[in-house]
């Protein structure tokens, strides 16, 4: 097993006071709380911080941990608690830790202080409910999908760490692969509910649900805003000026689109109902981006000089009205 340096996790010196520990924990808890943080590995970090705090906040556990820490580097290969560990400090059986707050701690923690008793599970669960037959808890996770998965209602596979009861009744984290049919038209931030795929219930209660919060992968072409899909469409200056038909890729296939005459930079053109499908289907927007041909080409240069010399056009006239 791997030794965990709880002081390092909280950025503390070994002689930190209990107040320092509390302060450091609060700081990191705010930084990495999965409901607040945008850090990619927030959940893992938050768990590590919680585990470190669980040990260091308790003077007795801290003392026990400090005794180990003094010579943990001796056997670099891996870490084993000393044989008389359990006799010196009676943390076995899990009764010592507060059930619920310790789920998903590392095996290092479990070996030293005993596993959390019941209520295993992902961080997202909350430990509520009592000792009567009750429905298992809902399990939450974030999943990444592609825009096309939502549009076509594709089947995607997700691998999730889910709590399971092993034979001895301990909660262990298991990797489960689920094949999920994505509900058509789901938006970013919405949640897929998989009925009875969450935690086992207690006392014969039914399983909780699995709630998958959807995040879209960045798309090569499109950006998505709620149900609407946006494409920045590059056009030549004469296409914007004179108008005309252009071919436009949409998630539903290529379409011909008419660019109106005298279209300015940033003009939005709408294809109704070609956004995310389903209840209140979204629209597809094309945003015109006028691209200039490179003036390093002598022909382009000549054309531009001709326009400058022959056209009476001042795009800034309105800036100086009233002068």
């Amino acid at each position: 097993m791997e030794y965990k340096d709880y002081y390092e996790t909280l950025g503390l010196a070994r002689d930190a006071s209990q107040d320092d520990i509390k302060r450091a924990y609060r700081k990191f808890a705010r930084k990495y709380h999965p409901d607040v943080s945008k850090e990619a590995d927030a959940e893992t970090q938050f768990k590590a911080v919680g585990e470190a705090y669980e040990v260091l906040k308790d003077p007795e556990k801290r003392e026990a941990y400090d005794q180990l820490g003094a010579n943990w580097k001796d056997g670099q290969q891996g870490f084993e608690p000393p044989p008389d560990w359990e006799q010196q400090f009676d943390f076995g059986g899990g009764g010592y830790t507060q059930g619920g707050s310790t789920h998903d701690f590392s095996s290092f923690f479990d070996d030293l202080f005993g596993g959390a008793q019941s209520h295993g599970g992902s961080y997202y669960q909350s430990s509520r409910g009592g000792g009567f037959p009750s429905k298992g808890e809902n399990v939450r996770a974030k999943v990444m999908i592609d825009l096309e998965d939502s549009i076509n209602g594709e089947v995607r596979s997700f691998s999730l760490h889910m709590p399971e009861m092993d034979q001895s009744g301990q909660m262990v984290s298991k990797l489960r692969t689920l094949k999920v049919k994505i509900p058509k038209g789901i938006k970013e931030g919405q949640t897929i509910r998989l009925s009875k795929q969450g935690n086992q219930g207690a006392g014969g209660g039914e399983r909780g649900d699995l709630l998958l919060e959807v995040v879209f992968n960045t798309h090569r072409l499109y950006t998505i805003d709620g149900k609407d899909i946006y494409l920045n469409l590059p056009v030549a200056p004469w296409e914007a000026s004179l108008g005309g038909k252009v071919s436009v890729p949409t998630p539903f296939g290529n379409v011909e689109m008419k660019i109106p005459e005298s279209s300015q930079q940033g003009r939005k053109l709408r294809l109704k109902g070609r956004g995310l499908p389903g209840k209140g289907a979204g629209d597809f927007y094309v945003v015109l981006q006028i691209m200039l041909p490179p003036v390093s080409d002598p022909k382009v240069k000549a054309f531009n000089e001709k326009m400058r010399d022959e056209l009476d056009f001042d795009p800034r006239s309105y800036l100086f009205q009233g002068e």
Partner: protein, 115 residues
């Protein structure tokens, strides 16, 4: 448990499922009604329409998304020790931050394709 060859699971869009009464929300969140009423009082979760003003708590109906908010609020209270007023503020700011992020992202994309 299940394996790679497991069945295809069909999900529902949680937010678009039928609304929940207060007691159903209690059950799904595994929270006492008193706590949820508190969350309503602080505007952290909101029943549909003008329900807070016009109706008794037992008539309230909640969108499913409110359940997710209630869960978040519970975790913030438990893990960060924020009080309800603070949670309401944090949740409002998080929504605003998300909006701003989205705008920055859209602008960046527009910039990239313009250059």
């Amino acid at each position: 448990m299940s394996s790679r060859t497991g069945p295809v699971l069909s999900g529902y869009i949680f937010e678009e499922e039928a609304m929940l009464s207060l007691s159903e929300l209690c059950q799904s969140c595994q929270m006492p009604a008193e706590m949820l009423v508190k969350l309503v009082e602080y505007g952290i979760i909101t029943p549909e329409g003008n329900a807070v003003r016009d109706q008794q708590a037992h008539q309230w109906l909640f969108q499913r998304s409110e359940m997710i908010r209630a869960d978040k609020a519970f975790r913030m209270e438990r893990d960060l020790g924020i009080n309800f007023a603070g949670i309401a503020l944090v949740m409002d700011l998080l929504v605003e931050v998300d909006d701003l992020r989205q705008q920055v992202y859209q602008m960046r994309i527009a910039d990239q394709s313009a250059n």
